[in-house]
């Protein structure tokens, strides 16, 4: 036997450290929050975060600095976390749910798991960016864009509508990230605007035409590298990369569909407080913070390049203003994620 070299003492020491680390993780159970809305937020909250980790982390850091509430993020995809909340139901450890797109939070709302948002928070958000129910609120927005490689696709060849991509001429020419919430939200807009039958046939044409990538960044990177001529993504991936080194977007251009086309869909990111939150005061305070000027300024000045929607904060000057995008008007709370996943599963896309 040759394993004597690992001395017992060393291992015990490492083991002890490990257990301390783990115990430290376990012991920080959420402090019981008081339900009075006038109470000062304290303790900690768990956020199920479908939004970009870096954006939510920026909100959380700022919020913690201001309120000393500790924010724990559980990162995942919108539909994953939405369905998870539905399954966890009353036993959910989550206090706040933040999404990139509205379908997932609507799912949770329909399961009656969300608490009404504080009136003061709702007052900060224009009615167009939140459901009438007041059970959740928009926190940011993003627009669908068509990203393409001008070396492979001339201006004349560009599609005029998202629906064009179903034509056989587009076979093998466009990419998307179908397993992501973003693209599924776009499909849900299509479903809302054109109905089930049209969506179904569009999806089966898409199955023939498109090339699947994992993640919008990857789609853009592939278009940039000339692997594929074009892709359907959200706008901020392009701006984010351009603001950095541009190495994944420098060979690409962006096109907005406009004309109230399904492809001009502007998706509202949502935020809600769980009914079962053990710290509703801090949870409500977090949403209020995000939709307040301070939180929205992070959208304007940070590197997320998502659109602010509340407290009259303007978008990052690099972006085309939301009002000029001529997006189709869709009530965000009507978007249905379950049907979309079913349709996409049936089409063999996921």
């Amino acid at each position: 036997m040759t394993f004597r070299k690992i001395t017992g003492r060393n291992l015990t020491a490492i083991g002890a450290t490990a257990i301390v680390v783990l115990l430290a993780g376990c012991s920080s159970a959420p402090a019981p929050g008081s339900s009075s809305s006038s109470a000062k937020p304290s303790g900690e909250i768990t956020v199920y975060n479908g939004q970009h980790e870096s954006l939510t982390q920026a909100w959380a850091d700022e919020f913690t600095k201001e309120s000393s509430v500790k924010v724990i993020l559980r990162n995942g995809e919108d539909p994953e976390l939405g369905n998870q909340l539905v399954q966890e139901a009353s036993a959910s450890p989550a206090d706040v749910f933040l999404t990139e797109n509205s379908p997932a939070i609507s799912l949770v709302e329909r399961a009656k798991l969300l608490a009404p948002i504080d009136a003061a928070t709702l007052a900060q958000v224009p009615a167009g960016y939140r459901p009438k129910s007041g059970d959740w609120t928009g926190i940011a927005a993003r627009s669908t864009v068509f990203v393409y490689n001008p070396a492979m696709l001339s201006a004349a060849q560009l599609p005029t509508s998202l629906l064009d991509l179903a034509n056989p001429s587009w076979k093998g020419k466009w990419a998307a990230s179908p397993s992501g919430a973003d693209f599924q939200a776009i499909v849900s807009a299509l479903l809302e605007l054109k109905g089930k039958a049209a969506t179904e046939s569009w999806l089966s044409a898409m199955k023939q035409n498109f090339v699947a990538y994992k993640g919008n960044s990857t789609v853009m990177k592939a278009v940039n590298a000339g692997e594929i001529p074009s892709g359907v993504i959200y706008h901020y991936y392009w701006f984010g990369d351009q603001a950095g080194t541009g190495e994944n977007s420098k060979n690409t251009k962006m096109m907005y569909f406009k004309n109230a086309d399904p492809g001009a869909f502007v998706s509202v990111s949502g935020g809600g407080v769980l009914k079962t939150s053990k710290n509703p005061v801090a949870a409500q305070a977090f949403l209020k913070f995000i939709t307040a000027k301070q939180g929205q300024l992070i959208l304007q000045t940070g590197n997320s390049f998502e659109y602010p929607v509340a407290s009259d904060v303007a978008a990052n000057p690099a972006l085309v203003p939301l009002t000029e995008l001529n997006a189709p008007s869709i009530d965000p709370s009507t978007l249905n994620s379950t049907t979309v996943t079913d349709l996409m599963t049936r089409a063999g896309i996921i």
Partner: protein, 532 residues
């Protein structure tokens, strides 16, 4: 998930030295408490299997068949089967050729290559993929899957084959050449048949790894059942489609297990004797020396060089920024914590099963053992889905707790500890413990003072292998860990997903650094047998 289950193969050969059976030949029944403990642990082990079966039944055949018999599943089946069918024989050839060159030729520097060829095991498969995608961004599809699979996993064949080659009795070959066998015939008729078990064992591990791997294939846009299950999971949490795919995947794993056990026949372990007393016969390569060198150098460059150089390149490109985000230390501590607790819990859970298997062998022990093996051959995502559902519905306090993650690790890596523990236990004469009891020492105390003391080295080795598995684990950790958990693998993956390859590099580097000692341990164990 991405690293070796080679523990099985290597230790199985180590365990070939038979336990000194108790004189009196017949075995008594196991103590009730030991049996109860082993049964409970195996019942726990069978949770994922039961979950898949129950979900399938509850979902009902009409829904299930609609979810299974569709084009998408057909595509996945073609991809997954293609991957396994092409990669497994390829790794067998690549690994066996490397083992032959290193162990049976007089190639100078063979010892260095012997070590370098094991090194890919220290690199998680998704880091292999990350390296290759950096070099060739357009990599995708089956061919790329085969490339990554082969380079990441060939050591799982190479190591056991090399170990077996070192222990073949030269007398056999001398006898064969006395009978006039030429070298080629000698290899085919004498050497190759003796390598059947290590080849099969290694191939089994590779097939299971290929079935279970997520990150490596997601990065090159190659869809297998596992990546598709995770896509479904992302879209629906644990919806019926994810579970339907999981049941097909479980079926694939069982198919692989049955195929291997059929091919292996009745031989349980490589019976290669106590080790050759004389050094093995090495062939002198003359004109083919440059070709042999070329092969080994290219193999090492592709398998270890590409990922390692890429990581270093990204680290250089990222500069100080990538180390400075303040999360690295926390993530490292968390990973170490999970690794060590996972290893400890897995070892503790493996102990009763190993005791039963070694001291009271019989049908029950075999069944309990095989439950552990089957479960561990399931992809982490299946185990994780099962535990998520079971804990949400029935064990709320455990949901999203560190304990549940540790349980998942135990289910996934139990055989690593089991194999090492059994090998260790088999070496401890039962008489020692009984001697202590006859001296008035309580049986439990006797076990601790005598047996535990003796199996400490093998136990640590088994624990180290579990540790290796845990620190590279991605999917189960993502699903089960408490909110806020960010292990090295999670951090690496979230950065890669945002195409922050430079930001991911430190995490890749740390995973490799943590894996190196265990890989070395594995390597030295596989060579250890020679001197026993």
């Amino acid at each position: 998930m991405s690293t070796s289950r080679i523990a099985g193969t290597v230790d199985a050969t180590a365990a070939a030295s038979p336990n000194r059976a108790r004189r009196g030949d017949v075995r008594s029944r196991a103590p009730k408490r030991l049996m109860a403990a082993a049964v409970i642990i195996s019942a726990l082990s069978s949770v994922p299997l039961i979950y898949v079966a129950v979900t399938a039944i509850v979902t009902g055949w009409p829904t299930l068949s609609a979810l299974i018999f569709r084009n998408r599943v057909g595509e996945l089946l073609v991809n997954t089967a293609g991957l396994v069918i092409i990669t497994v024989p390829l790794t067998a050839v690549v690994g066996l050729a490397a083992a032959l060159l290193v162990e049976r030729t007089t190639l100078p520097g063979a010892r260095v290559f012997a070590l370098l060829l094991a090194a890919p095991l220290a690199i998680p498969a998704f880091v292999h993929s990350y390296g290759w995608v950096t070099v060739i961004p357009s990599l995708h599809g089956l061919g790329s899957g085969v490339l990554i699979g082969t380079l990441a996993y060939f050591p799982l064949v190479y190591l056991p084959c090399a170990a077996a080659l070192r222990r073949l009795d030269p007398a056999l070959e001398e006898a064969a050449s006395g009978l006039g066998l030429r070298p080629t015939a000698m290899f085919l008729r004498v050497i190759f048949p003796q390598l059947r078990l290590p080849l099969l064992g290694g191939s089994l591990l590779i097939a299971l790894h290929l079935l279970a791997e997520y990150g490596a294939f997601a990065l090159i846009r190659f869809d297998t059942f596992t990546t598709a299950i995770i896509d479904q999971y992302r879209s629906t949490f644990n919806g019926p489609a994810a579970n339907a795919l999981a049941s097909v995947l479980v079926f694939c794993c069982l198919f692989v297990l049955v195929t291997e056990s059929g091919a292996r026949g009745r031989a349980r372990f490589a019976r290669v004797g106590a080790g050759a007393s004389r050094p093995v016969i090495r062939r002198r390569l003359r004109r083919s020396t440059p070709a042999a060198y070329g092969y080994l150098v290219v193999l090492v460059l592709l398998s270890t060089g590409v990922p390692l150089i890429t990581v270093v390149r990204w680290l250089t490109a990222g500069g100080a920024r990538v180390w400075g985000d303040g999360q690295i230390v926390a993530s490292l501590a968390q990973t170490l914590g999970y690794g060590l607790t996972g290893a400890a819990i897995t070892t503790v859970l493996a102990l009763p099963v190993a005791l039963l298997a070694v001291r009271y062998p019989g049908r029950l022990a075999r069944i309990l053992e095989s439950v552990g093996y089957i479960t561990s051959s399931l992809p982490g995502i299946v185990t994780a889905l099962a535990l998520v559902t079971v804990s949400i519905r029935y064990l709320q306090p455990l949901y999203q707790s560190s304990i549940l993650v540790a349980v998942a690790y135990a289910l996934m890596f139990l055989p690593r500890a089991l194999v090492s523990l059994s090998a260790g236990l088999a070496q401890v004469p039962l008489g020692l413990e009984e001697a202590a009891r006859s001296l008035g020492i309580h049986p439990t105390v006797a076990f601790i003072r005598v047996t535990l003391r003796f199996i400490a080295p093998t136990t640590l080795a088994g624990g180290a292998l579990v540790f290796l598995g845990v620190i590279n684990e991605l999917t189960a950790t993502l699903l089960l860990a408490p909110s806020g958990t960010r292990t090295l693998a999670i951090q690496f993956w979230s950065r890669v997903n945002e195409i922050d390859y430079a930001g991911a590099a430190p995490y890749a580097m740390l995973m490799i650094v943590l894996s190196l000692p265990v890989t070395y341990l594995l390597f030295s164990r596989s060579r250890l047998v020679e001197t026993r």
